[in-house]
Each structure stands twice: as structure tokens, then as C-alpha cells.
Symmetry: C2
Subunit: 222 residues, 2 copies
Amino acid sequence: MTIEKESERIAEELAKISKQTNDGKLYKKDEIIYHPGDEDDSLYYIKEGRVKLAYLDESGRKLTLAIVGEGEIFGEMVLVGQHRRELLAQAIQDARIYEIEKGRFLELIQREPWLALKILELFGQRTREIERKLEDLVFKDIPTRLSRQLLKLIEEHGRRTPEGIQIDFKITHKELADMIGSARENTTSALNLLEREGILDKRRYRIVIKDEERLREKSRAF
Amino acid sequence: MTIEKESERIAEELAKISKQTNDGKLYKKDEIIYHPGDEDDSLYYIKEGRVKLAYLDESGRKLTLAIVGEGEIFGEMVLVGQHRRELLAQAIQDARIYEIEKGRFLELIQREPWLALKILELFGQRTREIERKLEDLVFKDIPTRLSRQLLKLIEEHGRRTPEGIQIDFKITHKELADMIGSARENTTSALNLLEREGILDKRRYRIVIKDEERLREKSRAF
């Protein structure tokens, strides 16, 4: 089975047990899917669009843990027996999402063990990503973290344009800062530096990477 | 099925497909199970003992991501198609470990979907733990991070003694520093402070928490 066929089959199986029919539920850009503290026993599957998963601390500071897109599952912590959300899930683009009740999901997995394997892979990938973020935070400075984050964004959400590779959604400096665990001011300085060096172009919340090779060099520094 | 029965059954099923017979392979304290960069297509199940999973950066600095113990699985990243180890796995006590070849593990999961669910839970828990570590690193200062780490250690590896709850393995200040992503010197200062306040006792690599309640208060600070 090709990867594409596999994703289709996953989408099909999940659609069948979703609370919504057919195309899932539509969330508009910036709409919140759940807040930290919400009680909720569902997992979510993204049919279309992108969702930000973030941690908010007591004083309202934010740390973005992941941007998940089409074909990905989130809210999977209900499988671990968590009944209250610890994270914020927010659409960063219009998104179509299936909501799947935990019990039905578990039944499906018992019936279709191949699906359990796909989910395991997905969890493994996400764990590894968060581990990398943690390593970066301990060992890398802000310009290096920013370069690594930008590379990741164009790999996962990049679109080729005549000017270079554009991150395929609007993003503010504050949002980038939340992704690399730094202050907004320092992130802006590091972005300005990359712009002055001709590595990227930024305007109106759009970031275009003009020189991927040099960005990659920056990402390997300490 | 009770949790204990479940763990026993997992151990039984994994023993059957392990490369070793009966009691697994013995690793002596400090022995390395794998190094970053090693090629290896196995998962590991801990029958007895404890193992440290750590990231080493290019210059040899270390970040300890987890201490895993009896009944836990590690090396699961082979499920995600990783052929080279990114982490270091090292026994911190004498340990008995089953090594399980990836292919045989996948076959088992297809045959026993309940096992897939257990593994999913395990992954979910580990992900959540690493997310928490990340949040701590961004939002908490060193004394708070140290208090939270000590609480986690006595919850998972604590043993009641007449003096208080003792962390059930030897641990150096450097090792604690590697767990909270701080320098050794700062970790020692924070430990000394907790000792002066009568919250813990430390001598010869042994740490005893004498006042859990006050440690918990410390862990809630910023």
C-alpha cells in the first residue's frame, strides 16, 4: 500500500466513526478547538488546514509545541487517560476536522491493528520532534533555534514561489518566538539579521526563504 | 484485567519474541546499551533495573530526557523508521533487558491489538513528560525545575526510609543538572539551599527528601 493510499484509508476509517458526517467540522482561522482545562474525551483528525498546539503558563505566556496539518491526529492524550486538556488547540487557517470519541477510536484500533501502527508512528515522530526542541532549547542560541525552526516550517509547510520557498501561512514574530521559546524582541532581531544577509524576505506576516542553503548553514551553528 | 496482570502479560509476550531466552540480557551499572549513531533495529523492554536515556550534543554536553524503569519500553524510535540511534541508553543500575527485533514486535502487535494500545499509552505518557520538561525549561527558573525534577524522581523511583523518601539510585549533582538542563554549579547551589532549609539531605550520591510538602510548594513557584 502506498503512503497516499494509506492516508486515504485512514481518513476513510476515521470519517466513519467521526461525530460529524462527510467533511468533518469547519473551524475558521483563529477559532479555538479546545482550551487548556476543557473536559473532552475526543481525538481530532485534520482533513484540511492547520492547527497550532500550544502550552499556556499561569501568567499567559505561550509555548507553541507543534503546528499539525492535513492527515495528522491531535488531542491523542485522551488515550493516556487525560480528561482535561493541557494544551490549547487553535486553527491557524480555515480547517476541516473530524472529532472522534475515544471509545470508538479504541474499538477501531482493536479491529484494525494496522491503524494502531500508523498511530504509533505518528506518536513516535511527535515525541522525537519535541525531544529535538528540548535539545535546541538547552544547547542552541536564539539565531540557531530560529534557523532550525524556519527550516522545519518550510519542510512541512513550504510552497515554492519565484522568490523562494514561502511558509504557507501567515505568521507573526510573536508566533515564531513562541515556537522557539524566546522573547519577541530577540526573535525580531534574529529575523532582521537573516533578512539583512539576504537569506529571507519578510513582509505582512509572510516569510520567504530566499537562500535555503545558507539558512541550513546557520542552523548548524551553536 | 488488573494493571499488574496486564504488565505480566506484556512481559510474557515480549519474552517470547525476545532475542534472549528467559531473563533477558544482564547489563551492569553504567554499561551502555546503545550510543548515538549506532545502527540497530531493536526495541528494548526492561524486566529489571533502570536505564537513562540522554542526548549528547556535538561537544559532549548531555541532556537526560528520561530515566525508565521496570516494565517500560525504550528504543521505540525504530518504529518510526529510524535506523540510527539519536540517544544514549545507559544502565544506571544492574538491569535485565529484553532486546526485541522490530519486525517481530510489529507482528506481535498485529496479532495482539491490546498490546498496541498499551504501547500507545506509554508513548503518550512519554510525550507528555517531555512536553512538561520543555515547558519547565522555558518558563521556570532553576530552583523550581530542580524541585519539580526531585518530586518526579521520588514519585517514580522513591523508597520510604525512616529519614524520608530516598531516591532509589545513586545520583550526582551533574546528573541532576543534565536532567533539568542547567549547569552543574547552579544545580549544586539550588541543592544546598534546599538542604539548608531542611527539605532534603544529600550525602554520598544519595538524596533523601525529608519534607515533601515543602518541596511541593517550591515546585509551584516560578
